[in-house]
């Protein structure tokens, strides 16, 4: 097999198009996920839609629709319950996401007998990407672009200083709710590609890598989009070569890139920090 041969298969080309389209939404919103500390929420929404996907597979319904409905119900329930408890956000999130996994497993193994499909749902599949996935990813990208341009200032202001933003008259609740909604919807658009367990590989890790390398918001967003596209492409290639689910390979590639960036950055930071000292001496 020559190096580029995997990309000659039509199903791989479709997956590649899916990843490139997803990179817009994942990179832009991923930057906000990292800046606003929404990693656990993203993780939870991915897990939360798992029973929806199992249900869709068992009943022959469109998977994106079921994942969307169940994922949004989950995200809404999460917000509602965590606000009611005031401060127990991480407990409620952890329990609800484990609950979603448990319900999904019971449905898959004992109601629908979905068998090995469960692994496909958990870690993604190259073959599962269809035309509607591409449309969904494209729409998610456009919405993310529009929302980032329109609401970026509000997200930035509440992110740095929620109390100050409120005093300045920015009503912080609506833009924030919209950010959570957008993250949930676009994460669900990514499920067929990377699976329910590894949404963070697209939405958290590349943006965190870009965050290591730049302090400017524009550069962070551009870098995150490019990293999602590049790591997704590399992960897909690896996934075809070693016959593994793409979610797993993309997660591994983006984790290794993050590790390399962090390792490279550490000596640079040390040199920068020590420069004044060496000049003075």
């Amino acid at each position: 097999m020559t190096v580029l041969e995997p990309f000659l298969f039509p199903f791989v080309q479709r997956s590649l198009a899916e990843i490139i389209l997803l990179s817009v939404a994942a990179g832009l919103l991923g930057s906000w996920v990292v800046l606003r500390g929404l990693a656990f929420f993203t993780h939870a929404v991915g897990h939360g839609s798992f029973p929806g996907l199992v249900l869709a597979g068992g009943l022959g319904l469109p998977p994106q629709l079921c994942a969307l409905v169940v994922g949004l119900l989950f995200a809404g329930g999460l917000q509602r319950l965590s606000r009611a408890r005031g401060g127990a956000y991480d407990v409620v999130t952890a329990l609800l996401l484990i609950g979603a996994l448990a319900v999904g497993v019971i449905l898959a193994s004992d109601v629908f007998h979905s068998g090995s499909d469960v692994e496909t749902l958990l870690f993604g599949s190259l073959l599962a990407v269809g035309a509607q996935d591409l449309v969904l990813a494209g729409v998610a990208g456009l919405v993310a672009l529009a929302a980032s341009a329109w609401l970026g200032q509000a997200w930035l202001a509440t992110g740095f200083d929620p109390d100050g933003a409120r005093q300045l008259g920015l009503r912080s609740a609506a833009p924030d709710a919209l950010l959570l909604l957008l993250v949930a919807v676009t994460a669900i658009a990514a499920l067929t590609a990377v699976g329910v367990l590894l949404v963070a590989a697209l939405f958290v890790v590349p943006a965190a890598t870009a965050r290591l390398l730049t302090r400017s918001l524009r550069a962070l967003q551009a870098g995150a989009v490019l990293l999602v596209a590049a790591e997704g492409t590399a992960g897909l290639w690896l996934s075809v070569r070693i016959n593994a689910p793409p979610g797993a390979t993309i997660a591994l590639v983006s984790g290794v890139v993050f590790g390399a960036a962090a390792a490279l950055r550490a000596p640079v930071a040390l040199i920068v920090a020590s420069r004044p000292v060496s000049r003075g001496g």
Partner: protein, 289 residues
Amino acid sequence: MSPADLVGVLVEPFTEPIVQRAAAGVVLLGIVGGLAGCWVVLYGLSYAAESLAHGSLPGLVVAVAAGLPLLIGTSGGLLVAAAAIALVARVPALGRDTAVSIVISTMLGLGALLALAPSTPRGLAALLFGDVLGLSTADLAVGVVVAALLAVLLAVFHGRLLAVGFDRETAARLGVRPGLVELLLLVLLGLALVVVVPALGNLLAAAILIGPAATARLVTRRVPAMLAVAVLLAVGSGLAGLDASYQLSTASGATIAATILVVYLLALGGVMLRRRSAPSAGPGGPAVR
């Protein structure tokens, strides 16, 4: 059906030797999970508990492929995951949640790759979702030792855990070193997970740590009472889940996790209803901290 018949039906699964062994395992899980879980909840470590359990997947898979006991794989995987999270969390500009998320998605990806390699024998599903009915005598023996060790350590360090958990700064002035106590708690969490992960799987393990403790926290504010309630709830919902999984022939680990969640949601609903009917907090009022 008379009450006696009902009891007969409910007790019937426990006459099977394989269910008796699983029940012994569940009791151990309940003790370990309930005790360690209270401190996990009090210290706000729920995300860490959930993720560390996820992060042990590559270790588990390597142990299965190499024919080593799951115990060694779990502890190895936990150590690597904990060290990686500690390292990434030190990177400035990234929060702890982000660090946890990066490490866990990488570990899960690696674990899935290893598990789906042709040379790996056991199914990935059993590692992800556990196998309560497949616990060996060695697993149970390890469970007894870990439960005893955990109980002793928690009793010895109870005062220090309490002091740091409620007021870090005062505790530091009183001569307790908060950093060391937090490290100790992570070690205890790791110990508990070593017992829980092989039984409930690395995706569901955190249920028995967080669920009963969070429910106990809703019912009582006193720590000793919370520990007792959490252990009782963990053992009780574990056995009820095991019974239900036998009666309905559903996956045992998932049924136990679902039972724990249902108990928590019922308690939460009860608390919310009581707050709403109380005259001081009307509907739409500010959340009570």
